[in-house]
């Protein structure tokens, strides 16, 4: 998979498709509700500390972004000093080339992987499978998606769009599962079949939540333990690290970790958080013998020193998805990007440009809930709007709308034009409303208007202006005063 998928469908078509799936729609709503409640409790418990943490995380991450070349170099040098083998990937294709090279050098054909957005971004699974390499997703949700040949609908809990019956059926059909549809039983079946894969695979592939520049360490945050399995038993390990994952030192790593699980899943900490600094040490029996770090840019550096540099603070927690009123309804699949929701609306065009995204960045009401909840205070809704501004400036918007907005600009900037409109408008609307107070569904054939009246009524323009009343009101007051004198 690359960043974009299902691009043959328009945004409207994808949205329509998502809304037709009641189970998925409700699953995402319930997930939002659950995360909202659990995160809210933890944030409240921390009192002022939460805002202080956010501000501190912001200054730390900004410092890294402002000195990104230095910290990229420092991390790389320290990771290498730890005994990691560094592979530098300015582009996603470079990353794929390096991974294939590692497999070839080891004659390896069997890998286990723990969930990593970076590998999704470059379409790693597809390439490996084409080359005949078996790659097994080991995160429960990712394994479900891989087995069902489906795509993630949420960045933290990606398989929410399948219910327990569907999941049980998938494993019955593909993996010989014979148990019930109880989540516990399915999960323990996965424990059993995947344990074998972990122990047999030659290569472990994983991502990295934060990379520590001062120590050259990579980290992994998981609840299931699949990350630890990938990190412990395959002899060769490949770690995908984005250049935007860096924190300067261990103390700032703590700051990020105080924010991440709370924001992502509404927990103080995940079951596992591992801090890895190189291959297994002298005398150690488990852990990778070789650690290869794929240090990847893939368009990220262009966000630095740009109007989108704030986005480099993002830690992929998904808090913005969990509060977004749009994501709630259209789910991850509505966006057509592996990075969905508010953060996705900023990051996706930031990485792929405006040509292939349809009007994705307009799937946002600019309500600002994302910005309020972002643990690193990214002004997400402002950045979404900045993409819109850039699209208009670069003529990447839908040409058909331009005259409408030009007309609006004129209408709002000239009182005579406005007053003329206000003379013509009310009787026309009154007629369209069949003499009633609002345009109803019967007006849903009129261009532009139908955008509204297909789903809601629209109150007709008043036959009198507030300004007219106000003028008369002031004159009456003046007369009264005059009369008194």
């Amino acid at each position: 998979m690359a960043i974009l998928y299902n691009t043959e469908a328009t945004l409207a078509e994808r949205v329509e498709e998502c809304l037709e799936d009641d189970f998925k729609h409700n699953a995402i709503k319930n997930a939002q509700e659950a995360f909202y409640v659990s995160r809210g409790k933890l944030v409240e418990e921390m009192g002022d500390g939460w805002q202080q943490l956010r501000m501190h995380a912001m200054e730390v991450r900004n410092h890294v972004t402002e000195n990104l070349d230095y910290y990229v170099k420092q991390f790389a040098e320290n990771a290498e000093a730890n005994g990691c083998i560094m592979h530098y990937a300015p582009t996603g294709d470079d990353a794929l080339w390096e991974v294939l090279d590692i497999f070839e050098k080891h004659g390896a054909a069997y890998a286990v992987k723990s969930k990593s957005m970076m590998t999704e971004e470059v379409g790693l699974n597809e390439i490996l499978e084409e080359t005949g390499i078996k790659i097994v997703e080991t995160d429960c949700a990712e394994n479900i998606l891989q087995t069902a040949e489906s795509k993630p609908s949420h960045i933290v809990v990606p398989a929410l769009h399948f219910n327990r019956d569907a999941i049980a059926d998938i494993y019955r059909e593909k993996r010989g599962y014979t148990g019930s549809n109880v989540p516990e039983e399915i999960t323990h079946f996965l424990r059993k079949i995947l344990r074998h894969e972990f122990m047999e695979a030659e290569v472990g592939i994983r991502g990295c939540n934060f990379a520590v520049a001062s120590t050259g360490s990579v980290t992994l945050v998981t609840n299931e333990g699949n990350g630890r399995m990938v990190d412990s038993f395959p002899k060769v390990q490949i770690v995908f690290v984005g250049i935007d994952r860096i924190v300067p030192d261990l103390e700032s790593l703590d700051t990020m970790m105080a924010l991440l699980p709370r924001s992502a899943v509404g927990a103080k900490m995940t079951a596992y958080f591992s801090l890895d600094s190189g291959p297994r040490g002298a005398g150690e029996i488990d852990g990778p013998e070789e650690v290869h770090i794929i240090f990847m840019d893939n368009g990220r550096h262009e966000l630095a020193n740009s109007e989108f540099s704030d986005m480099l603070r993002c830690m992929r927690c998904g808090a913005c998805l969990n509060i977004c009123p749009v994501y709630r309804h259209i789910t991850g699949h509505g966006y057509g990007s592996i990075y969905p929701g508010p953060m996705g609306l900023v990051l996706t065009p930031g990485l792929v440009g405006y040509d292939d995204i349809d009007n994705m960045v307009f799937a946002c009401s600019l309500c600002g809930a994302c910005t309020e909840h972002c643990p690193v205070s990214i002004p997400i809704h402002d950045l979404v709007r900045q993409h819109r501004i850039n699209m208009v400036d670069e003529h990447k918007n839908h040409a058909i709308e331009v005259p409408i907005f030009k007309a609006l600009g004129l209408f709002w900037s000239s009182r005579p034009v406005y007053m003329a409109g206000m003379t013509l408008g009310p009787p026309i609307m009154k007629a369209l409303a069949h003499g009633g107070q609002a345009l109803d569904a019967s007006s849903a054939w009129i261009p532009v208007v139908k955008g509204w009246t297909s789903t809601r009524d629209f109150d007709v323009l008043s036959s009198t202006r507030f300004r007219t009343w106000f003028k008369a009101h002031k004159e009456a007051q003046a007369d009264e005063k005059g009369g008194e004198q």
Partner: protein, 236 residues
């Protein structure tokens, strides 16, 4: 440009260019941070921190026992005797190779237990046999290097005497933690690493409860790829 075989410079120079830097700075000092976050643990006594550690652990469904160093073997023996639902009468145990376990007589005590069919003490000379033992063991026992009160976390470094498998493969992880090593937040642990100036071990794992998932309909299930049960033993 051809794919692959890129250098660090190939990765870094476009970043420098984007930032308007002619070259990468030799040294960047960390600024004086403007913000410092207060934490819920601020001002708590050590005793309160230990209590918080226990309370938070119980919230994430970790069982907690407290004992003295002298009673460690008995305490762990009792946990093992309690058994695990769904497992057979007899079980195997894999332990970290730790002087403190030796001194407490843990290995011998476990071997004497009727229900314990085999006790494997991690042995760097024994190679993969250690992992094989952990694969079939019901209990994995480690001596952790610290506890974190705020998040009920134990700090588990990897070493030649304590492999990753012990706290990962068995159904139950019994993590021993000295009460004196319990600190307020992860910040204290990180600061400790930084101040020690020593190279970090190949892995430090921060463990906070049983492995779990909510991937199917958000229903929480414990015991995914790691232990299904975690038991902390606080040594006072």
């Amino acid at each position: 440009m051809a794919l692959g075989n890129k250098t660090l410079n190939d990765l870094v120079s476009p970043i420098s260019a984007q930032l308007g830097n002619a070259r990468v700075a030799d040294k960047v000092d960390m600024p004086e941070w403007e913000f410092k976050a207060q934490r819920v643990t601020d001002g708590l006594s050590h005793e309160q921190l230990v209590d918080m550690f226990q309370a938070e652990a119980e919230k994430v469904r970790v069982k907690v026992s407290r004992c003295s160093a002298a009673d460690l073997a008995t305490c762990i023996g009792d946990i093992v005797r309690e058994g695990v639902p769904g497992t057979g009468e007899e079980c195997e145990v894999v332990c970290a190779n730790d002087e403190r376990f030796e001194q407490a007589g843990l290995y011998d005590a476990l071997k004497r237990r009727k229900l314990v069919s085999k006790v494997t003490v991690w042995d760097p000379e024994a190679g993969d046999a250690n992992v094989d033992a952990a694969l079939v063991a019901t209990y994995g026992i480690t001596y952790t290097t610290g506890g974190i009160a705020e998040t009920a976390t134990v700090v588990q470094p990897t070493s030649a005497n304590c492999g990753r498998a012990i706290s990962l493969l068995p159904l139950v992880h019994i993590a021993v933690v000295d009460a004196s090593s319990i600190v307020a937040t992860m910040h204290d642990v990180m600061k400790g690493f930084e101040e020690s100036g020593e190279k970090l071990p190949s892995q430090v794992c921060f463990i906070s409860g049983p492995s779990a998932t909510a991937d199917i309909e958000l229903v929480r299930v414990e015991g995914v790829h790691g232990p299904m049960y975690v038991h902390y033993v606080i040594v006072e």
